[in-house]
């Protein structure tokens, strides 16, 4: 059986599933309940000078009948006095000495940072996370993402913390920046032990079409919030990969963003996260979902022969290249399994209107199974993605696998197109219908 024991920069936990600093970690009660349910660690809701929150704080993006594909909040850090939180940290650690309790912190001056770091260490926190990510409210006061967007400031504050820290320090990064590796390197330079990413993405979740007020609404007005939930996973995975591949980001990473199932967690781990943090899924379904995550990850690891998390962390990184190094000679075309096809013809119209006119219809009422026009198929995958039947449309390799020529190779040999009318243009000899054919019925 796979061993799920996790270790992030010396912070150990029975499994890699942590609760992210957020409403589910607002109190000792919630965290004890979560540990009891199976969570391996929890990052306490950010401590600092307590704030006052608005009433009405969350908004959601639904997709058809799927609730909360995306989620957005305008809640700030803890609104509870520091002493109450410290007392509860102490109590949680008494009950769960082997679980990871991390204190997320956000204050302003060097003195405040020193004081609060010492306070949480005294309370028994196993680690500290610096909240340089919150993209709403706190950033207006020069904290949160305002720090994360300035690598120099981030580095300086990290240094302040490291002056007194005697437990591992994690720097939590904001995705609201062009190049996530810059603040990541700032954290390394500041002496941090790990980074975590991503915090939420600045967002307006939607607009009430009757009142014209965006969500969430506070007395007829709104403000931008932080976006998270399943919809942000691809953004998180990309930023995770960017940091994990960067030679100067030499510290471990805690992956955050869109994790709801063991599959999402496994993807984060494969792209270089040493553990993962979860919030929205718990806000949607409660702490119980961790059972599915643990059992799914265990089964997956057993199936793949991974004994420990180290066997899988970062395993996919070698398979992510720059675009310019991809093999341009690799060629796949779509193949439709006529037995599985149900005749919805979504592949046909997707290719016809949205891609390369490479799917044809039989032209008879009886036969609704489309066919691939192989010479037009560029192997884009679109048809296989819109197809509602599993494994009905597959992409079949057509090149002989002997050639590997990338854009870089072509450019080096002066074989890449460089002019508007270049003979070497990839689409030069592709068939496209005449424009006026569009109007023929």
């Amino acid at each position: 059986m796979a061993n799920l024991q996790a270790n992030l920069a010396g912070i150990k936990s029975p499994n890699p599933f942590w609760l992210a600093s957020a409403p589910p970690t607002n109190s000792g009660y919630q965290i004890m309940k979560a540990f009891d349910a199976g969570w391996g660690g929890a990052v306490w809701k950010t401590l600092g000078v307590p704030i006052i929150n608005t009433s009405s704080r969350y908004g959601a993006l639904h997709y058809r009948d799927s609730r909360m594909m995306g989620f957005n909040n305008i809640e700030l850090i803890t609104d509870r006095p520091l002493s109450h939180n410290l007392k509860e940290i102490e109590e949680v650690k008494k009950y769960f000495p082997d679980h990871a309790v991390i204190a997320s912190l956000m204050v302003q001056s060097r003195e405040e940072w020193h004081q609060i770091v010492k306070d949480v260490q005294n309370a028994g926190a196993d680690g500290i996370e610096l909240n340089f990510g919150c993209p709403h409210g706190m950033c207006e006061r020069g904290m949160g993402s305002a720090v994360g967007q300035e690598p120099e400031v981030l580095k300086t504050i990290t240094e302040w913390v490291m002056e007194v820290a005697n437990v591992p320090v994690i720097v939590k990064l904001t995705p609201n920046i062009s190049d996530i590796t810059e603040p990541a390197i700032g954290a390394v330079q500041g002496g941090a032990d790990a980074i975590s990413l991503i915090n939420t993405i600045q967002s307006v979740i939607g607009v009430d079409l009757d009142t014209f007020v965006p969500y969430p609404q506070v007395d007829g007005k709104s403000t931008n919030g932080g976006y998270c939930g399943p919809a942000v996973k691809p953004i998180a995975l990309n930023m995770l990969k960017n940091c994990a591949q960067h030679p100067d980001v030499t510290i471990p990473i805690s992956g955050i963003g869109g994790i709801e199932s063991w599959r999402d967690a496994a993807e984060h781990l494969l792209l270089g996260a040493s553990n993962v943090q979860v919030c929205t899924a718990v806000m949607h379904y409660g702490f119980g979902i961790v059972r599915e995550m643990i059992s799914g990850l265990e089964n997956y690891m057993d199936e793949k022969g991974f004994e420990t998390l180290d066997d899988m962390v970062g395993k996919s990184l070698q398979n992510v290249l720059k675009w310019e190094n991809l093999n341009l000679k690799y060629k796949v075309v779509a193949d439709i399994d006529t037995d599985k096809c149900i005749g919805c013809q979504l592949c046909y119209i997707a290719c016809e209107d949205g891609a390369h006119q490479a799917i044809g219809l039989s032209g008879t009422e009886e036969n609704r199974v489309p066919h691939i026009i192989e010479e037009n198929c560029v192997g884009c995958n679109l048809c296989s993605l819109v197809c509602p039947v599993e494994e009905c449309i597959t992409m079949v390799r057509k090149d002989d696998g002997k050639q590997d020529v990338s854009w870089t190779d072509l450019a080096a040999k002066d074989m890449a197109p460089t002019e508007f009318e270049d003979e070497k243009a990839g689409g030069r000899h592709h068939w496209v219908p005449a424009p006026a054919d569009a109007l023929k019925k």
Binding site: R64, D65, C341, I342, G343, C344, Q345, L346, Y348, I349, L361, E365, R368, P388, V389
Partner: protein, 438 residues
Amino acid sequence: MSEYKRPTSEAAFHQNFEQIKPLMNDTEAYYESSRCLFCYDAPCIKACPTGIDIPLFIRQINTGNLKGSAKTIYESNHFGNVCGKVCPTEVLCEGACVYNEQNVKPIEIGRLQSHSTTKAIQDNTKLFTSLPENGKKIAVIGAGPAGIAAACELRLFGYEVDIFEAKAQPSGLALHGTAPYKITNAEVLEEMQYLEAQFGFNTHYNKKINSAAEARELEEKYDAIFLGIGLGGTRSARIEGEDFENCEGATEFIETLKLAPLKAAVGKRVVVIGGGNTAMDAASESSRMGASEVTLLYRRAKEEMPAYEFELDLAKGVGVRAVFNVQPLAVLGDGKVEGIRSIRTESKDGKLSNIAGTEFDIACDMVIKATGQEKQRNFLDTLNVAYDNSGRIEVDEHFRCGKTKYFAAGDAVNGGAEVVNACAEAKKAAQGIHQFLS
């Protein structure tokens, strides 16, 4: 033993005839509409005689554009609400849904259609406004689905429309003939009122057009006449004793049940003759009205039965016993039904023959003949409108009757089909009239 007790109140009647396609609430409609794949060149559209753009109206429900969805439905089918409930969707749109190919439950198109149109009717949503007036007048004979659909379509072109209806109430078989568990009378009448208010045609009830003189008057007064006259009463079963008390035609039995349910006479032991959908309805209804034993006799094999499989299943589901390859010979009794004598049959090379010596009797106190409806040949002769050998009005591709100013559609032309067929054909006939007059 039947599970139903004879209903003695309106409430009990509605309980016995609980809707088999009940209305959806908003959440159910939202979930169900979310499942639609939005197929290209969707098979459900092709399977609908009126060609409703089903994926579009489903998507409109899903996005909260209920008005748009109702408009999509009514633009193709003026009886959108009735059809959502009474259409045999299992063999039409829902039968064509691609989910069937995947052994996944097809989209409940009929119920979604009812959801959309019921909302439009309840809110009296105006979908068709500022209709033109072209100064020409059309008479419509019959306020059934064909007549009303034609009237709506004609109003869209700007014709003034007068409908002449022999009965006291509109909607033809949609009101007088459909099984009460498919749609309530109130629902049928509410859609009629909705259409009448929106399209502004005039309906004259208890106005049977009978004589040649009345016909000539219409011909003089109107630019064209649309015949939506449907079919007549139940055809004779041509068996001894069919004139006995308690031996009734299915059309008449169902009409009584629909208009005065608590007064409808239903025997304790009922035998229904026939293998069509009307036979299934009559059998189901007898059972739901409290008959303790209902037997369906069909002269051919089950596979040859013209009724839809699901209609037979519905009947069986309420305790009806179906017997195949049985030819009724005589109703037994002394002026009053006491039983029915039948003989077993067999089909050889498509020819049906009785098996000698296999006569048997079933004791019963009521016989319902679902042996088809009469054609209205006499009336057509009065009008000088031609019909074929089986009494169906002969029309050209524009639904015009020869070189006359008569046009026709619905059961009187197709010989008896679904409400949705009447709507589809009547709409085309109205377009034929418009072409004829412009």
